[in-house]
Amino acid sequence: MIDKKITDDIGILILENPPQNYLQKPEFIPVPELMEWVEGNHLKALVISGSGRHFSGGAKLDSIFAMAEAGESMEGWMEKGKELLDYLQDLNIPVAAAISGVCFGGGLEIALACHMRICSENALFAFPETNLGLMPGLGGTFRLGERISLQDSLKMILGGDMINADEALSLKVVDTVVKNEEPLLYTFHFLRKITEGRPLKIINYVMQALKNSKRLSAEESMREETRMFCDLARIESDRRKNANP
């Protein structure tokens, strides 16, 4: 279901269920497995993409109904799915979604949990859940609402409206539209460019500071930023002393 690869300290996760890469369950990779892979390999960034032409069509209806019929465990499955997306969002390394083709429902929820979204010109985005008597169940409603206006969120979620790459860019659902290049390749090179030569601790601190800026008060986040700065200053100072005794 998931293909994992590492190149130059960058983790590449491919949703592997072509052609539509439907998600068989919300937790497309167990958090402990992902955590061990990221931390054990000291990865500096992560890119998530879909195998082949599409990112992901989301969950297949029969999977959802099968889960619902299984009864007791559905909320548990959903909870695990949410934990996975929260884990991705909270990771202190850049996590990017590289999107071509279809990015619907649960697939869009995965993309929204990432720190940045890069797509091709042919990408299409939608929350079709309400057309099927459902709603985004993995925090997608919330994450979309954080990024775009309520009006546009409602159009997408209640209306099941599909938007294309240009619309997604102007709404800031995606950050970059790439032309004449595979989003995955572009994203990989982009992540490598911004992380190469940067110690993991620096990357971690920048991501942590960004997280703090959204979750803490101005004063608290600034104090934390100062604390991290001082930690790095001491490390750098020692490094210089050892280099030039």
């Binding site: 960004l210 600034m222 104090r223 700065f229 100072s237």
Partner: protein
């Protein structure tokens, strides 16, 4: 205004406080600079009658930012300097500097940064706490701290993310590259580019216009109203 101030000049004309960094060409934000700066902010906290603040620098450049060697030195040991207060633990000094920056963000009167030339590192962080930023076409911005194995430490990360969004903030902070006025404007880090020789004049005219009945939450509306072609400004 203290006679002993060297690194900063502050004058009030018609209610507009004009703060100028005064150590050209680099206007470096040294420990002495921050000492004077924090003192000025303490005065501003209790000053009455100010209607707006315009921040600019004497000379070609806004500021090259903090002195890196000093920063590193002070993070490790309380340095011995001329001003006894600077013997404090670095955390305290850095927090004081951050709080001074935050003061400008929290002011209920308009705070406008008028930027020419280089504005990087701590200087860029400082400028980001202004309510508005106008710059010359020659302006150069950036946070190169990560290229020195550091991070911006004075609150700039929070400000930059709020203006240009998370994805762009990640890119700019980790790459640590400098960029020009156009790119800054594209990323909403600067509000308007004006001819470099007119930046201060423009900022003053803008201040006069918006300081009447200024509503901070509506800052973006004021920007929509201004036009370079408006003879009022040039």
């Amino acid at each position: 205004m203290k006679q002993t101030q060297h690194n900063l000049v502050f004058n009030i004309t018609e209610g507009i406080g004009h703060l100028e960094l005064n150590h050209p060409p680099a206007n470096q934000m040294t420990a002495e600079f921050f000492y004077e700066f924090n003192e000025l902010v303490d005065e501003l906290r209790v000053m009455k009658g100010l209607k707006a603040i315009v921040i600019s620098s004497r000379g070609r450049h806004f500021s090259s930012g903090a002195n890196l060697d000093e920063l590193l030195e002070q993070a490790v040991i309380p340095g011995e300097r001329n001003h006894p207060e600077i013997n404090e633990n670095w955390n305290t000094i850095s927090e004081k500097n951050s709080r001074s920056f935050l003061f400008f963000e929290e002011m209920e009167i308009p705070v406008i940064a008028a930027i020419r030339g280089v504005c990087i590192g701590s200087a860029f962080e400082f400028a980001l706490f202004s309510h508005f930023r106008f710059c010359g076409e020659d302006a150069v911005f950036g946070n190169p701290e990560t290229t020195f194995n550091l991070i911006p430490g004075l609150g700039g990360i929070r400000k930059i993310a709020a203006l240009c969004g998370q994805a762009k903030a990640i890119e700019l902070l980790l790459k640590g590259n400098t960029f020009g006025a156009q790119e800054a404007q594209l990323n909403h880090l600067v509000d308007k580019i004006v001819p470099r020789r007119k930046v201060v004049e423009f900022s003053m005219a803008f201040a006069r216009k918006v300081m009447k009945n200024y509503k901070k939450q509506k800052a973006s509306l004021y920007l929509q109203q201004i036009s370079l072609d408006d003879p009022f400004y040039i």
